[in-house]
Amino acid sequence: MWVLCLWPLALLLLWAGRGDLTANPISFITNWLGDWALRILLVSLALTPLRLVTGMAWQMPLRRLLGLFAFFYVGLHFSVWLAVDHFFDWRQMGTDIVKRPYITVGMAALVCLIPLAATSTTGMIKRLGAPTWRRLHRLAYAAALLASVHFLWLAKVGRVEQYVYAGALAVVLGVRLWFAGHRFVRSRIAHAREAS
């Protein structure tokens, strides 16, 4: 899994070493890192629905690693924007965060992921208590939603990838909602039986 997750970065470094990053390397690198952040985040969010649908559980321990790698790529994506693309031009970046909705939601997605990365250790789960920790980590869904909107809003007319990601997220969230609804109905039925 480590190898798989580091592969996109390794490719990027390989191409950088060859000077083979298109005519507009900074834009290419930013897009590449953002693409992979979103892909890994979506995969990490697909593991639980996969268990719900198929009953398979082997993939569950991978959630933490994938979540952290998603954060890693988001961090790189953001750092390139900050340090390379805008070269610490705080005024312009500040204006962009406030005035450009796609940058605002992108930034919000990054902010959502920070507490998740910070509380990713087993120690933190213990300290927060599993229910609190679980509630906090629902932010991952918010982050994925914001990231998908970020991509939908920045994409130019005629592109389709942004809809593919938004569709994948809708499926992943839909499965969760479907099962949550079932659980809710089942528990109501059980309550009704107990009462009668």
């Binding site: 060859r18 298109t22 005519a23 507009n24 070269f87 130019k156 007319v157 005629g158």
Partner: protein
């Protein structure tokens, strides 16, 4: 503070074509990427076109060094070939730039159809080095070869009702693969691609009817065999592979304006003080440079064209 100047990559860093193609093959092989990227085998870069002689016009020379030929011919927006920057170079061989006819008509006294080889002889060809600013926030410096569009327009004698000029790009799904209907009839833009200028903009000496670049005939991916270049406007205004130039009395409908009227106006003058709704236009990245540079009003041609827009609110008429 360490500030890096000059191009990020040297000529010697340019990857040999075989390695470049390997990379593409590899990418296509990646499952996730293959799903989203273009399917099929990678295409070789098209061969360099034939030389085209033209005298440099010293009145129109940007002092900045021209963009590398490889970048100017392999990083293009030409939606008839596809939405990716590398689609035009890969698919350009499908376009047949000869024989080619250009209809020049509408509100004119002597409307007619020119063969492109005849059109090239209407006035002497000259080389001009212009800045090219893309609405996406990057720019290039390109030595174009062409003649003032005014020379051709005068030849057909516009009538007094002619107020605008409309340019139409070829429609032929055989030659322009992205004009074929995609899934669910999905298409990026409405074809044909049309663009337009006010007549005074079209007659302006900077507006160049263009047949070549870098001392060569226009490569297909750059709009062969004939395009316009309007250096003070965002790149998409400069229609490529033109089959018709029509003089009209009403403001023509333009392709990007039809697709997203709130984002792409008729004028689309390069203007650092008017943001694109989704991004700032204050700065640009010159292809080959590391740091962003400030975008200049009218792309640096304010002295020559600002008077065309006296009294107009350029925030409204963007």
């Amino acid at each position: 503070m360490l500030v890096r100047r000059g191009p990020l990559f040297r000529e010697s860093d340019v990857t040999p074509e075989a390695v470049y193609l390997n990379r593409r093959a590899f990418m296509v092989g990646l499952g996730a990427v293959a799903l989203l990227g273009p399917a099929g085998a990678p295409e070789a870069a098209p061969p360099a076109p034939a030389p085209l002689a033209a005298a440099p016009n010293p009145a129109y020379r940007l002092s900045d060094p021209p963009t590398k030929w490889e970048d100017a011919t392999m990083y293009n927006n030409f939606y008839e070939f596809g939405v990716n920057k590398d689609d035009p170079a890969k698919l350009a061989h499908t376009l047949k730039p000869r024989p080619w006819a250009v209809q020049v008509d509408g509100l004119v006294a002597k409307g007619r159809t020119f063969d492109v080889d005849e059109l090239m002889k209407v006035a002497p060809l000259e080389e001009r080095i212009y800045g090219l600013r893309c609405v996406e926030g990057w720019s290039m410096v390109i030595p174009w070869i062409g003649m003032p569009l005014a020379a051709v327009l005068k030849r057909v004698e516009p009538s007094s009702q002619a107020k605008y000029v409309e340019f139409t790009t070829l429609v032929d799904p055989e030659q322009f693969p992205a004009q074929r209907k995609g899934f669910f009839g999905f298409s990026s833009l409405e074809w044909p691609y049309t663009e337009g200028l006010r007549l005074d903009e079209a007659m302006h000496p900077l507006t160049l009817l263009t047949f070549g670049m870098y001392g060569k005939v226009l490569p297909n991916q750059n709009g062969a065999p004939v395009r316009v270049v309007i250096p003070w406007k965002y790149g998409f205004k400069s229609a490529k592979s033109i089959v018709r130039i029509r003089l009209v009395s009403e403001e023509p409908k333009t392709a990007w304006n039809k697709a997203q009227p709130g984002e792409y106006g008729f004028y689309s003058n390069v203007n650092p003080t008017v943001d694109h709704p989704r991004w700032s236009q204050e700065t640009e990245r010159r292809i080959g440079e590391f740091r962003r540079r400030k975008t200049l009003m009218f792309n640096g041609y304010a002295d020559q064209v600002a008077s065309l827009y006296t009294g107009m609110d350029l925030k409204k008429l963007y």
